[in-house]
Amino acid sequence: MTEGPTVAATPVARRGAGTVVVTGAAVRSAYGRGTQALLSGLLSGRPAFSPVRRFDVGPRRVRVAATCDGDPDLRTELTGTVGEACDDAGLAAADRSRTPLFLAIHAHPAIARADPADKPQLGPAAFAAAVAAGSGLATHGIRCYLSACVAASTAIADAAAAIAHGRADRIVVAGGYLVESDQFALFDAGRVLADDAQVRPFSTGRRGLLLGDGVGAVVVESHEAARARRVRPVVRLAGWGRAGDAYHPCQPHPQGHGMARAVTAALQRAGIAAQDLGYLNAHGSGTAQSDPAETNALRLALGDAAGTVPVSSTKSLHGQALEASGVLEFIVTMLAASKGSLPVNAGFLGTDENCRLNLVLGEARAATPRYAMSVNAAFGGANTALLIGVP
C-alpha cells in the first residue's frame, strides 16, 4: 500500500474563493419518480434490472436493462425533472428565469432518423433550449455536454468552478438518458453487456454492465445566493476534479492515473485528507478492465484510506445511465450521505484480488459521513470526481 498523497494546505488556490452548495435535486430512475423512490430502491438492495419491453431486443445477445414503466419521452422527463429540482430548491419564477441550464445528453433524440434536410435543426442545443424554456430557466447561457459517461459530472464540476470563481451565482445541471434501441444495440454489439443479467462491480465473475434509465437535475449555487434566498443547502459541493488518462480511445489507464489525479484534485479543492471521506460512490462499471483500473486509481489517490473508505457502485442497482450517470450518481451520493445509509454494492460473488476495496456488501450500511465522493469515468480516458460535504 502506498502512502497517501500530500493534500494542498490552501484549497482556495485550486478552486476560487466562493463556497458552492446544492439546494435542490430531482430524479427519475428505474425505481420510479423522485428521490424517495430512488433511495428506497437503493436501500432495498434489489437491482432494478428486468427484460426490456420498450423496444425489440430480439436480435440482441443481452435483453435486460433497468427501465421505468412505459416509453417515456426524454424531453418531457427532463423538463419535469428540472422543474422539480427548482421546486425542491425553492426557486421563484424570477430566479429561474435568470438561471442557465447545463444539460448532459447523448444527442437530440430525433436526429438519427430525421430527413437530412431537417438534421441541422436537431442539434443538442435546440433540445436543451426546449428543456430550459419548458422549465422556466434562462434562455441564455445554455450549455450541452456530450462527453459520454462523464458528461453530467463534468457539467457539475464546471458549474461549481464557475460559481466558485464568481462567474455565476446559480446553475441548474441536468442529465438524461432513457434506455433506447440504438445505444442498446451498440453496447450489445460491443459485447460489454452482462449476459448473466446482473452487474457485479469489483467482484469475481463480473461479466459487464447493464444500461439503466436516469434523468436527474441539481441546483448548484453560491452559498451567498442561497443565503439571500433564505434557503438551507442540502450539501456543500466541497471539491471537484477532472483529468485525462492520455492512454487509449476506449480503455482506462491500467494504473488509473487520470482518475487518481481527478480524485486528488477534488480532495485538494476541499482541503481534506483521504481519511476524511466517509463514502465513495464508485464508477464501478462491472467490466473486466475498468474495475481493476479504478481500484488502482483509488489506491494511488487515497493511499491507506483506500482500504477503509466504504465504497459501492450503485450501477449494480440502477444500471449505467450513460451521459446522465454523473448527475444520477451524484444524487445517490447526496442521498446516502445526508440520509445516513450507504447503498450496497450488489451482485457480489467473491473478492477479486485486483479489486480489493472496503465494499458495502450484503445490505445497506448505516453511516453518517461528513464527506462523500462520486467518481465517474468514460471512454477517452476522461475522469471526474465530485466531493460533497454534509452540513
Binding site: P116, A151, H165, A189, G244, A260, R261, A265
Partner: protein
C-alpha cells in the same frame, strides 16, 4: 513563441477571433480544409464510415504540432465542440437497427466523441480533462474555466462539423489556448 499560422479559410480564423474575444491567448491554430489539397480527410485506424473522428485527429495534430514544445509537466485539456455530433455514425446505427441488420462493433466505440479525444490525448500526451460540448462560445468558456480553475495549463479546442446535407462539406478548426497570465496551475501530486 511562434505566431499563430495564418489561415485562408474562415474556420480557424473565426475560432481564433472568438478565443481572443473570450480573453484567451491563442498559441496555435489549424483548420480543415486549409488548402485545395485537403479534399479527402485521411482515414484514422479503428474509426469507420464517418469523417467526424478523422477530422478531429487531423486538425488536432496540425494545431498541436504548430505550438511551441511544451514543458514536460504541462497539462493540456481537450474540448471538442460540435453543433450536431457525429451525425453520420448515428444515422448509420439507426438504419441498421431499423433494418434489423448487424451493427458494426467499431461503431460502438466511435458513437461518442470521447473515443477520438482519447486517441488524440494518447497520441499527444494530453493529461488534462476531456470534454465535448455544443457551441463555440460554450467550448471556449469551458476552456477558460479549466485554466482559471487550475485544471490545465493550456486547452486544445477542436470544432468539428461533418457534412449533413448535399453540397455541404466537412469542416474543422482547432486552437491551442492559454490564459492571459500563463500558467495558473500549482504543483500537484503526479500519479
Amino acid at each position: 513563441m511562434r505566431p499563430p499560422v495564418p489561415q485562408a479559410y474562415p474556420g480557424p480564423d473565426a475560432l481564433t477571433a472568438a478565443a481572443v474575444a473570450a480573453g484567451l491567448v491563442v498559441r496555435a491554430c489549424a483548420g480543415w480544409p486549409e488548402t485545395p489539397a485537403d479534399d479527402r480527410v485521411p482515414p484514422l485506424a479503428g474509426f469507420i464510415e464517418s469523417t467526424f473522428s478523422p477530422l478531429v485527429a487531423q486538425v488536432a495534430g496540425r494545431a498541436l504540432s504548430r505550438r511551441d514544445e511544451p514543458p514536460r509537466d504541462q497539462v493540456t485539456a481537450l474540448v471538442i465542440v460540435t453543433a450536431l455530433g457525429d451525425v453520420t455514425s448515428a444515422t448509420r446505427v439507426a438504419a441498421a437497427v431499423d433494418a434489423g441488420t448487424r451493427v458494426p462493433p467499431l461503431l460502438f466505440f466511435q458513437s461518442v466523441p470521447n473515443s477520438v479525444a482519447g486517441y488524440v490525448a494518447a497520441r499527444w500526451h494530453l493529461t488534462g480533462p476531456v470534454a465535448c460540448v455544443t457551441g463555440t462560445a460554450a467550448g471556449l468558456a469551458v476552456a477558460a474555466i479549466q485554466i482559471q480553475d487550475a485544471e490545465a495549463d493550456e486547452v486544445l479546442v477542436v470544432r468539428v462539423d461533418v457534412a449533413v446535407t448535399d453540397g455541404d462539406r466537412d469542416r474543422a478548426a482547432a486552437v491551442v489556448v492559454t490564459g492571459p497570465t500563463g500558467r495558473n496551475r500549482p504543483g500537484t501530486a503526479e500519479s
